[in-house]
């Protein structure tokens, strides 16, 4: 028999987990004590939210379960934002929190909060271990639930006395897997019939493709059918960006050709996507001429936002190879291709003096960085520019907080990704506002000397909110001015991180080259014009084809 704390670490090792993120404290101390004798490498972040985002970065960049650890009370409440983030983006995560000893529970003990109660609506599942013999079976279940079907975060709350007491070995064999849906042959046939009958079919690719490890199956499908494709924020990287009918991201800040083609299609094939409101714009007018073929692993997504004409429930890896598209779609292909050419983004690759253009800078960065480089970002205008103008070779290369849109995601997620991929180029594209939300993680970079590159796109504004104030609130700017930002390079220097600052176009290429070639961590502070906005934009409650493509 082992003590609870040792048993947990032993269990994690058996699961193949050798790197975890966390922050110690009273109730979780026994686990931290046991860590000293364990082969597991623990990364100390500087805030539990940072630790959890690092675990998310680890998970999203590898498609494996990420693990983070925190103490009871404030440690656990600090995890909650990241827990919700992982829930909304379906990230496989196991969070372990310490709880006060069972004898003290329910007495408003020091650092006691009802974490289980707080977690319910923001995770895939959560469990409180109340008996020593439940500890290992609970962990087993937690990993299984985090991974199976549509992945998601699981929280396990463990009282301190269970960590210090002896727990029996788990005699339970791997819990039997939950039965997953299997697409029915008759429905597959109907789906293929819809494909054959359609004149203007369109693939709408979501994050589910990457999470199902079905990128190759998707690319095969595209090769076989030569259908045009659009991606959601989380779907980016799934399709081959060089394909002539690849149209990029759709939705509120989608590219014009992507949105227009979806509005014109007569069959929308949603693959691992959930018709999120940022994608559809005004729902009643989204793809108004299209039948919907909805393919997903989660039954609750089918008919949730729009009635599907045909749905296929199951593993995309199994379903996608069974889809075919016969019939003549050549006119449609040509039409989409023309649309793509006519709406191509006009990058101004000039080296003239003048303000830096963020889309152009990001396109350059995309071209200059390694093909398998991992880019994380924060939330705001810069995040949309990354999604519009950078190209990704795989969904694990693009880490962006989609469903929750959590500022402060970029830096800690990059740290987690670098831990998981020590030899890969990792760049965090941060907003000046968002960066300050988890700026303490510079301390983590310093501690482990990880070569993460930080690119701050500084418009001295909460730019996305400012854009909405400008366009939809009569230019009434309320609390979005950040012109008193700290000097970011001096901030970096305090953490022994080299840096550079640029403000004009002619400096961009050299600065990016220097950043990418730098050996250790590096911060590049890019000063932008605060007036720049993200285009196109679909105004609220408007159909996607009525997007505004440029400033009025």
């Amino acid at each position: 028999m082992k003590k609870g704390a040792q048993a947990i670490l032993h269990f994690l090792t058996e699961q193949g987990i050798d790197q975890v993120f966390g922050y110690p404290g009273g109730a979780i101390m026994p686990l931290y004590d046991a860590l000293l004798d364990s082969p597991i490498r623990h990364y100390l972040c500087r805030h539990e939210q940072g630790a959890a985002f690092a675990a998310i970065g680890y998970a999203r960049s590898t498609n494996q379960v990420g693990v983070c650890i925190a103490t009871s009370g404030p440690g656990a409440t600090n995890l909650l934002t990241s827990l919700a983030d992982a829930k909304l983006d379906s990230v496989p995560l196991v969070m372990i929190t310490g709880q006060v000893a069972r004898s003290a529970m329910g007495s408003d003990a020091f650092q006691e909060v009802d974490v289980l109660g707080l977690s319910l609506s923001i995770c895939k599942h959560s469990m409180l271990v109340l008996e020593p013999q439940e500890l290992l079976p609970t962990l087993q279940k937690a990993f299984q639930i985090a991974r199976e079907g549509r992945p998601g975060p699981v929280l396990v709350d463990i009282p301190k006395d269970i960590l210090t007491g002896l727990v029996p070995e788990s005699d339970e064999q791997a819990a039997s897997a939950t039965a997953m849906p299997l697409a029915i042959p008759a429905q597959l046939q109907t789906a293929n019939q819809l494909l054959a009958e359609s004149q203007r079919p369109m693939l709408y690719i979501g994050g589910g493709v990457g999470m199902a490890d079905a990128v190759n199956e998707l690319r095969d499908l595209i090769d076989r059918t030569q259908l045009p494709q659009v991606c959601t924020l989380k779907g980016l990287g799934s399709a081959n960006t060089d394909h002539p009918l690849y149209l990029g991201m759709l939705g509120m800040h989608g590219l014009a050709a992507a949105n227009l083609s979806v509005q014109q299609c007569d069959l929308l094939i949603a693959i691992g996507a959930r018709l999120d409101d940022r994608v559809t714009g005004k729902l009643d007018e989204f793809a108004p001429h299209a039948k919907l073929l909805h393919i997903d692993i989660d039954p609750a997504e089918i008919h949730k936002r729009r009635q599907a004409d045909v749905s296929l429930l199951g593993d995309l890896k199994v379903i996608l190879p069974q889809l075919h598209c016969v019939g003549d779609k050549q006119a449609w292909r040509e039409h989409v291709s023309e649309l793509k050419a006519s709406k191509a983004f006009p990058y101004a690759f000039d080296h003239s003096p003048g303000q830096i253009d963020a889309p152009q800078l990001l396109r350059m960065l995309s071209d200059m960085s390694a093909a398998n480089a991992i880019v994380s970002c924060d939330v705001g205008q810069h995040q949309m520019w990354v999604a519009q103008h950078m190209q990704f070779s795989h969904p694990t290369c693009h880490l962006s907080s989609g469903g929750l849109g959590t500022m402060g995601f970029g830096l800690p997620a990059a740290i987690g990704a670098q831990v998981a991929n020590p030899d890969t180029q990792v760049v965090a594209v941060c907003g000046d506002g968002s960066f300050m939300m988890n700026v303490q993680e510079l301390g983590t970079l310093r501690r482990y000397r990880m070569p993460v590159k930080i690119l701050i796109l500084d418009n001295q504004r909460l730019g996305m909110v400012k854009q909405w104030q400008e366009l939809f609130h009569d230019e009434r700017y309320s609390e979005t001015d950040l012109s008193d930002n700290p000097e970011f390079s001096r901030l970096a220097a305090a953490f022994d991180i080299d840096s550079d600052v640029i403000c004009c176009r002619s400096q961009v290429q050299t600065a990016l080259e220097r950043m990418l070639a730098h050996q250790g961590p590096y911060l590049l502070h890019v000063q932008l014009d605060h007036k720049d906005n993200v285009w196109p934009i679909v105004p609220p409650n408007t159909a996607n084809h009525q997007m505004w493509e440029q400033p009025k």
Partner: protein, 99 residues
């Protein structure tokens, strides 16, 4: 529209809160609620919950989410036309839980 839901739940911490929270979040009101240990399943500590709910959305919006609860063993849903439990049609769903 009124619906009668019959659930068998495993008696885990917070299981009732999960059901109630899911119901509220997905936009349904609870009109009647009854809970008791399932007599035929005493050994496995199961709870039987009967709940009458009403809401504007199709009931599958709620039932498909309840199906995701790991502590839910079974769920049956009937349409009740009047607030008193009038079982008009039976609509049982067998959905795998995946998220």
């Amino acid at each position: 529209m009124n619906y009668q839901l019959e659930m068998l739940l495993s008696d885990q911490p917070a299981v009732l809160e999960r059901v109630l929270q899911t119901t509220r979040y997905r936009g349904f009101r609870i009109n009647q609620l009854n809970m008791q240990p399932a007599p035929e399943q005493l050994a496995s500590r199961k709870l039987k919950v009967s709940m009458q709910v009403s809401g504007k959305q199709p009931i599958t919006i709620l039932t498909s989410q309840l199906h995701k609860l790991y502590d839910l063993a079974s769920l049956e849903c009937r349409t009740a036309l009047s607030p008193s439990i009038e079982r008009q049609s039976t609509l049982t769903q067998a959905l795998p839980r995946t998220a």
